[in-house]
């Protein structure tokens, strides 16, 4: 059987959990096997009462102390207990912050193969072949496991969050475990402020800066570009914030703000998975980058292969010329 692991400490219907289930269902079809969704530290009633939760599989609730808050030590021990009991061939975990913390650790504990950031799966001779990104996200590769057991982490957004064959009448079973934490003391979560409202949430047009703009000084060009559009805001990729060129409040991405403006102009942004997760749903995406192989072009609607700063200077001059032209025309009329 295939074991999917629910995202810890979030509602039962969480998208990351459902995406992991979708991937597990695809693997089970290849293996002619079944799926069980395991959820640690969640209470029974939440799953029963979660309205509209449809699952193509039964649920096992792993119950025990030390599971109230996510922690790798306790979760891995508890899930290992269930794995010994159910003997799954694949364990599928969402590639979220917590899932990415747990999955490789669990894989080593149970001597399984670890295949991460999986974006697709297909069958070959009754075994799964996984697709995942590689080489800076510019290429992808197909990999097969060389172990009897495999832990798979799933790229957020790659699989459907709505498994179609679901049923509301899934069976829920309890699996009590006894886990004592010896080296980890969870202290709960902490809210952090990212500073001022940067206008990203309500902007119709976002001009975003990546490492490829070359230096901090070139940000003024991007600001000038943004000023051509009403209701615009300046965004950034994570490295630009890491360099201190812009504050983290302007970071767009999985670990930053998620935006979907009418127009997103990515300047010198290569398009890491991290960044794409935060802006992929924008209505129109324009990318300017000097690297033709940059992943951002695969998600853009229009692209220009050019040095960013050079191109924006030329573009700004052109716009000025056109506007002056218009002004002259209207005077003549």
């Amino acid at each position: 059987m295939i074991l999917a692991i629910a995202e810890p400490s979030v509602p039962a219907s969480d998208a990351a959990t459902m995406e992991a289930v979708s991937c597990a269902v695809q693997i089970s079809a290849i293996r002619s096997s079944t799926v069980i969704l395991a959820s640690a530290g969640k209470d029974f009633e939440e799953f029963r009462n979660a309205e509209g939760v449809r699952l193509p599989c039964d649920v096992v609730l792993i119950e025990g102390q030390s599971l109230a808050h996510y922690n790798a030590e306790g979760y891995a021990a508890a899930i290992t207990g269930l794995i010994d009991h159910l003997n799954p061939t694949e364990i599928v975990i969402a590639g979220t912050s917590r899932g990415g913390d747990l999955a490789p650790y669990l894989a080593m504990r149970i001597s399984a193969a670890y295949i991460s950031v999986v974006t697709g799966v297909r069958g070959e001779g009754g075994s799964p072949v996984y697709t995942r990104p590689c080489w800076h996200g510019k290429m992808e590769m197909d990999v097969v496991s060389r172990r009897e057991r495999t832990v798979v982490s799933v790229q957020p957004g790659a699989f459907s969050a709505a498994p179609l064959v679901g049923d509301e009448r899934f069976h829920v079973e309890r699996f009590p475990v006894s886990v004592a934490l010896t080296a980890t003391e969870p202290e709960g979560t902490l809210a952090v402020s990212q500073g001022d409202d940067t206008g990203l949430a309500n902007a119709e047009v976002i001009v975003s800066a990546g490492r490829g703009i070359g230096n901090r000084e070139n940000l003024s060009l991007l600001m000038e570009l943004a000023s051509l559009f009403p209701r615009s805001a300046l965004g950034a990729s994570r490295p630009v914030c890491d360099y201190g060129w812009l504050p983290y409040g302007r970071q767009v991405g999985q670990t930053g703000r998620r935006v979907s403006p009418r127009l997103y102009i990515a300047c010198g942004i290569s398009g890491s998975m991290q960044h794409l997760a935060g802006m992929r749903s924008s209505a129109h995406i324009v990318a300017v980058n000097n690297d033709r192989d940059a992943p951002i072009f695969r998600h853009a609607h229009a692209g220009v292969v050019e040095d960013c700063a050079t191109f924006i200077r030329v573009f700004l001059d052109l716009v000025k010329e056109r506007e002056n032209g218009k002004a002259t025309q209207s005077e003549e009329i």
Partner: protein
Amino acid sequence: MKILVCIDRVCDGEAPFTVEGDGRTIRPADQAAWRMNRYDEFAMEEALQLKERGIAAGIDAVSVGTDATTVALRKALEMGAHDAVLIRTGEVHLTPAMKAHLIAAMAADVRYDLILAGMTSEQGLNAAVGPMIAALLKIPHATAVLKMDLEDDCRRVRVQRELDAETRECFRLSLPAVVAVQSGINRPRYPSLSNVLRARDQEIRIINASDLAGAAPDQEIVAVRKPRAGTGFMEIQGSTVEKAEGLYAWLHERSLL
């Protein structure tokens, strides 16, 4: 306390590359530049700050790979690592589990108090080696760490890990522990001239992978390829001015400008 920093070598992301005839090996152009993985610079910086606060007595940097990997270790020495260790392998594809087994085997002999790593490799994108080392050494770990403080006479480390833009998750971990740091936890320094000169002549210790308890590959690459482009993409071509005109027209047609 003694710190180990795990360093990876990556190829410059913009260097040209080809896929070899076997259809599963990516070969960068000969002139491609190799360097330290950017995420590992943050791990090095965190270790150096502990040294400067008088907390860390020794900092070792370790990397797994061929002799060419020394370029990343040299950078670690330039930044201020005391010693550098290369676990030397042949020219083979190393999965994160294979690297973790070798580093864990090497670290088990030395008994480090703290093992630091970058969150992920820019090139391989696995984010796995740190937690794997922790599992193999049976010690705690945290990934995506944006803040860490040692307390209780360096018996524990208090960490904040990144959940999303507005939430962090806090733990106290007993040492020894593995901490994989997220980019932005600090500002990695540029090596000083004196450190660069010192590093130039410093010997990098070599351990042959075959002398350590390694692991067989846990997975096999069967194909690599360029991902399919999205539908509805248009590249605007021509001279720079023509491209600017093309983009202007594209935006106009869609009433975006």
